[in-house]
Amino acid sequence: MGRWLLALLVVGLLLSAWWLSRPAGDPVAPAVDVASLLGGDASPAGFRRAQAPGRIELPRDHGPHPDYRTEWWYFTGHLDAAGGRRFGFQLTFFRHALFPLAPASADSRNQLYFAHFALTDVSRGDHRAVERFARPYAGIAGVQGAPFAVWLDDWSARSDGESFLPLSLQAGDAELDATLALRLAPGKPPVFHGNAGLSAKGPEPGNASWYYSYTRLPVSGVLLLGGEPLMVSGSAWLDREWSSSSLPPGVVGWDWFGLQLDDGRELMLYVLRDAQGRPQAVSAGSLVTANGDRVPLAVQDFQLRPVAHWRSPRTGIRWPVSWRLDWLAEPSLLLRAAVADQEQDLSVRYWEGVVDVLSVAGERRLGRGYMELTGYGRSQPNKAR
């Protein structure tokens, strides 16, 4: 009898402990679902579309295009420090118009800037990413064409002089415990993808983006990591893209590769895929020769097959982190993530990080690159922090 009572008491105590320790309503819950804020209604009506006639003009088009829905300044790169330490960095500035046809006076109301800053410490197998949002009032965020500058807080990309290059990148974050100050020198000339920069994203006209890249820019500077200053140098890649289109029906995501081969060539590939993983006909790419000429690649010119996956313990998503690339008549390549976990669990969840370009047997390194994987796992985007 006594034992029963004791057992009952213990159960009761446990129950009340459970009850009392249940988490109370979190007062700092997510404020707003940024990803769906960006998505909005998918209709691009009212925005300018990327279509002919029209052409990219530089340096004008380094600057903003507020009549298009979305654009980005997408810097990635590889950095080497003393002692063989290797890093990858990503600093991306996005501009997004919430609504078309906003009254002229309400520009800062309608425009949203966000930026992602990520650092991969390849030698230590560590990857971290943070994001920031801001609207362009009080000078806290903005973009200007000449001289070029885009900034959000103290993250910025800014031309040093009147010309676009050289250009300084600056970003730091307490969470990452890292600050990056880089100088991007002129390297290869810009490459205009698709049809003179008009890059189709769907079969119908207008479902396209304006897209050009600087595929190899010598970079040098300082990485302050954990309070330790590291002198770094390497090569960077800038993708510039603006459009008002959304993914065509049936397309769930894309895989993008920007590869810098050791023989002086670069390769940009993107594959739009459906739910079954089949590449869409508009998937394409560019091969940039050592002297800067562009060879367009169509969907039939290359084939990408995942050969290894990594499952994220955070999100449960199975990311294809190694790929076999068969292309043209060239020897096949193995594209393998330098660090498996380069998942970016931000408002928009994606995988973006450093890949090694290897011979297909994996014994020789032939270059390095950046890979971007989107649309994997659960279809809902992540909530904002």
């Binding site: 700092v28 404020a31 800062s108 109301r109 309608n110 000078g139 806290i140 103290d154």
Partner: protein
């Protein structure tokens, strides 16, 4: 023999007997259960209300902690926008967010100011702010992109009868400007409007600037920023410090609620006790019978306790349900009061706390079992033959009275010591509680001589039956004592709290009279500003104007930013200040002469300020000391008010804005002035004329709402009183069934007997009520002189409402009469022979 049977068989017998008894007296059963239920419900309801108030304050604390560690403000103005950019771009402070807020008045509700708060959702997430439950992303997209769009908290939308898709029409600033209501959101704060930062910027700061910048930084960064900010005339203040002050302020409110819950506990406990005690007492004869049949004492005791536990369970279950219903109502009241008085986070949902439930359950079962234990033990100990008589054993009464009196005296001494030295609110409440319990203990010993005195008085006037009834009532006090004590306590609470509120209200009324002494108030728009000189020129032209007073109000510019600052300048022809403490011309001259202020007594008591001390305020040119000249009475806020001369204010703060102008009419020309002022206001955008009578009404309405919960509690106290006395007097009636029978056998008519019985119970009620008068007065005086002084720093006059006291005595007598009627009718229904045979 029964005792040889298995024990459970005997226990069954007692329970069966109980079951039969209850089946024959369903009303009795219901009353017992209802008594327990009401006690439990009252305690639970007040606890839940008190809980939700605590959660509201805790949520505010968490919210503020999560939201920002520091904030940047500029004394007397807006923080320049460039500061935010510099913070983010040069100082590397990413966790920073500008906030713009201001007061608006609405065309539909011009009497009240609303706070419109503009935040940038993206910046706000940097400082960890939750933007209230603001709904979905689509809504946010629209809020960001729609000009002038606002979101309304549900109570605001309800009060203004607006829905999503409607428009708010501004009266001030920007009269006539329409703000589309995008959605009604799940936020239960009052007088608050949410908007995007950029919307608020257009309304309040078209030239740029923030009301403040929220930061989330550590102390090291704060120390680094402080000199940088000070060079720009900006002040960095720590939110936890402000929060500590805020929670210090709100503690008074919470302790008040806790005291109410404690009082309810006592009343509830009394109620349960008297209810159950009666139910057991009624069956003494059955217990005697069972004992006579050989039931062991212990078995009887256990069986009675088991039965009581079953009853208690039913009562508690009902009480919990009732308490939840009553509590959800109280929670709304309390939260409304809190959001009226303090700015706190929304606690929308009503949640049950395990502690409150457990407390209520323990009270219900504990008091019931304790109540049953005594009579059960008594029944067990009483020789069976005596127990079978219905009349109570009264022999032990005098000794018990002496013990009670002794206990009461000890309690009184302790209470007096506590109250006299109370350094803080909890001590004062402990003293108050102890005092009430001690006085309740003294009720039976005090009532006995009172009733006997009545008996002698009646005998002298020749009413022998009356004298007999009074003496009978005195003799029955052993049974009715707890009920009478409960009745006294309930009535004293009823009148004491009523007196306190009445006193407070009359003090507030007096205060409103002199603080709203002008005939009309000209409310000036915040933006666009009004040119003072041309306004004064226009005022001089007004027919019927005797004088005016210029008024500027703003949050107190000190490190905490709580409380308010009022700067006043009177028209030389009408040299009054709206503050009672300042009738002396000499004081007015000192105020006008230099850096000097007068402070409200609540501020003085909170900060320990006296005349001659110095108060530091933050001016745009740095911190400055102001001499405190005097205290004044101010009920407008328990956060405190500082008042100074307008010219002195302008000299030190460089702020030339005005909020209102008070207009004084020449006697007899009030109507004329009102018409002229309305015409003047119509010529200026955003200017409005308000009659001070209207403001007075609004102020009193807020006051009354604040005390609604107290009123509800008074009502519960009244209910407890009635039920307690009904139960107790029934017990007494039944105990005296034999007397009734004897008297009827002696030839008293049923009508006579009924009157007699009513007289007896009415007398008991009235005597308890009379005892409650001094106790109520004492309670009210203690609440006014000690509790409110400690809680809010407010002093108030003691206004004795004789009508209320008379009412409470009448209430007690009425409760007695009501209680006597039904049992008397019951007793009369029995033929006298049966009553006599019962022994």
């Amino acid at each position: 023999m029964l005792s040889r049977r298995p024990p459970h068989y005997q226990a069954w017998l007692v329970l069966l007997a109980g079951l039969r008894f209850h089946a024959r007296h369903p009303a009795q059963l219901l009353l017992t259960i209802a008594g327990i239920a009401l006690g439990v419900a009252a305690v639970l309801a007040v606890d839940l209300a008190s809980d939700s108030a605590n959660r509201a304050f805790a949520a505010t604390a968490r919210l503020l902690r999560g939201q920002a560690s520091h904030e940047i403000v500029r004394p007397g103005g807006l923080v320049p926008e460039a500061v935010l950019a510099a913070l983010r771009r040069e100082q590397g402070i990413a966790a920073s967010a500008g906030v713009i807020e201001g007061r608006v008045r609405l065309a539909d509700d011009p009497g009240r100011a609303y706070r419109l708060v503009g935040r940038d959702p993206f910046a706000a997430t940097r400082v960890g702010a939750r933007l209230a439950p603001f709904g979905d992303a689509a809504l946010w997209r629209r809020l960001l992109a729609t000009a002038d769009a606002v979101l309304l908290p549900a109570p605001v939308a309800q009060a203004l009868a607006l829905n999503a898709g409607d428009e708010l029409v501004l009266a001030d600033p920007w009269p006539g400007r329409r703000l589309p209501v995008l959605a009604v959101i799940d936020d239960d704060r009052q007088r608050l409007i949410h908007a995007d930062l950029l919307t608020a910027r257009e309304l309040f700061a078209p030239g740029g600037g923030f009301s403040r910048i929220d930061l989330r930084i550590d102390e090291r960064s704060a120390a680094r920023l402080r000199p940088w900010l000070e060079r720009q005339g900006l002040v960095l203040r720590s939110v936890p410090e402000r929060l500590a002050q805020l929670t210090g302020m709100s503690r008074a409110f919470r302790v008040n609620l806790q005291a109410l819950s404690l009082l309810t506990l006592v009343l509830g406990g009394f109620l349960v006790y008297s209810t159950v005690a009666f139910a057991v007492v009624r069956r003494r004869e059955i217990f005697g019978l069972l004992r006579g049949l050989g039931l062991a004492r212990r078995q009887l005791q256990l069986a009675v306790l088991a039965e009581t536990a079953a009853l208690a369970l039913a009562g508690v279950a009902l009480g919990l349900a009732g308490g939840i219903v009553l509590g959800s109502g109280l929670v709304r009241l309390v939260l409304r009061t809190i959001s009226d008085l303090y700015l706190v986070a929304a606690v929308n949902e009503f949640t049950l706390s395990v502690a409150a439930l457990a407390k209520a359950v323990m009270l219900g079962t504990g008091a019931a079992l304790a109540a049953a234990l005594l009579p059960a033990t008594e029944a067990a100990l009483t020789p069976p033959a005596e127990a079978m008589h219905r009349s109570a054993p009264l022999r032990r009464a005098p000794r018990r009275y002496r013990q009670l009196l002794l206990l009461a005296l000890v309690g009184l001494a302790a209470a007096a010591a506590l109250l006299a030295t109370a350094p803080a609110l909890p001590f004062a409440f402990a003293g108050l509680f102890l005092l009430l319990v001690a006085l309740a203990l003294a009720v039976p010993p005090a009532l006995a001589p009172m009733l006997r005195g009545c008996g002698r008085l009646l005998a002298r006037f020749g009413s022998l039956t009356g004298a007999w009834a009074a003496r009978g009532a005195a003799a029955q006090l052993v049974r009715t004592g707890p009920a009478a004590a409960a009745l006294m306590l309930a009535v004293a609470t009823f009148s004491g709290i009523g007196l306190m509120i009445g006193s407070f209200r009359s003090s507030v009324g007096i205060w409103l009279d002199y603080s709203l002494d002008a005939d009309l108030l000209l409310r000036l728009p915040a933006a666009p500003g009004v040119d003072e000189q041309s306004l004064l020129d226009e005022l001089r032209e007004l027919p019927g104007l005797a004088g005016w007073r210029l008024d500027r109000r703003r949050p107190l510019p000190d490190a905490a930013g709580l409380g308010s600052l009022r700067a006043v300048r009177s028209d030389p022809r009408h040299g009054r200040w709206p503050l009672s403490a300042v009738p002396r011309a000499e004081l007015l001259r000192s105020l006008a002469a230099g850096p000097a202020v007068i402070v409200s007594e609540s501020l003085a008591s909170k900060r320990g300020l006296r005349a001659g001390d110095r108060l530091t305020l933050l001016t745009p040119s740095g911190a400055r000391d102001f001499e405190v000249l005097a205290e004044f009475v101010d009920y407008s806020s328990d956060l405190g008010t500082v008042a100074m001369d307008l010219d002195v204010y302008r000299r030190y703060f460089g702020d030339r804005a005005l909020d209102s102008v008070g207009l004084f009419a020449r006697p007899g020309s009030e109507q004329q002035l009102a018409r002229a002022a309305a015409e003047l206001a119509a010529r200026h955008r955003g200017m409005r004329v308000i009659s001070t009578d209207f403001l007075r009404d609004i102020s009193l309405a807020v006051f009354d709402r604040t005390f609604t919960i107290t009123e509800v509690l008074r009502l519960i106290a009244g209910l407890v009183a009635v039920i307690a006395i009904v139960n107790a007097l029934q017990a007494q009636r039944l105990d005296s069934a034999r007397e009734t029978a004897v008297m009827r056998a002696l030839g008293l008519a049923p009508g006579q007997l009924l009157r007699l019985s009513l007289f007896q119970s009415g007398l008991l009620g009235a005597c308890s009520g009379l005892l409650a008068v001094p106790v109520g007065l004492l309670l009210a005086w203690l609440l006014i002189a000690i509790v409110n002084r400690l809680a809010f720093g407010w002093s108030m006059g003691f206004a004795v409402d004789v009508g209320l006291l008379v009412d409470s005595v009448l209430l007690a007598a009425l409760a007695g009469l009501l209680a006597g009627w039904w049992p008397a009718r019951q007793a009369l229904r029995w033929p006298p022979a049966r009553g006599l045979r019962e022994f």
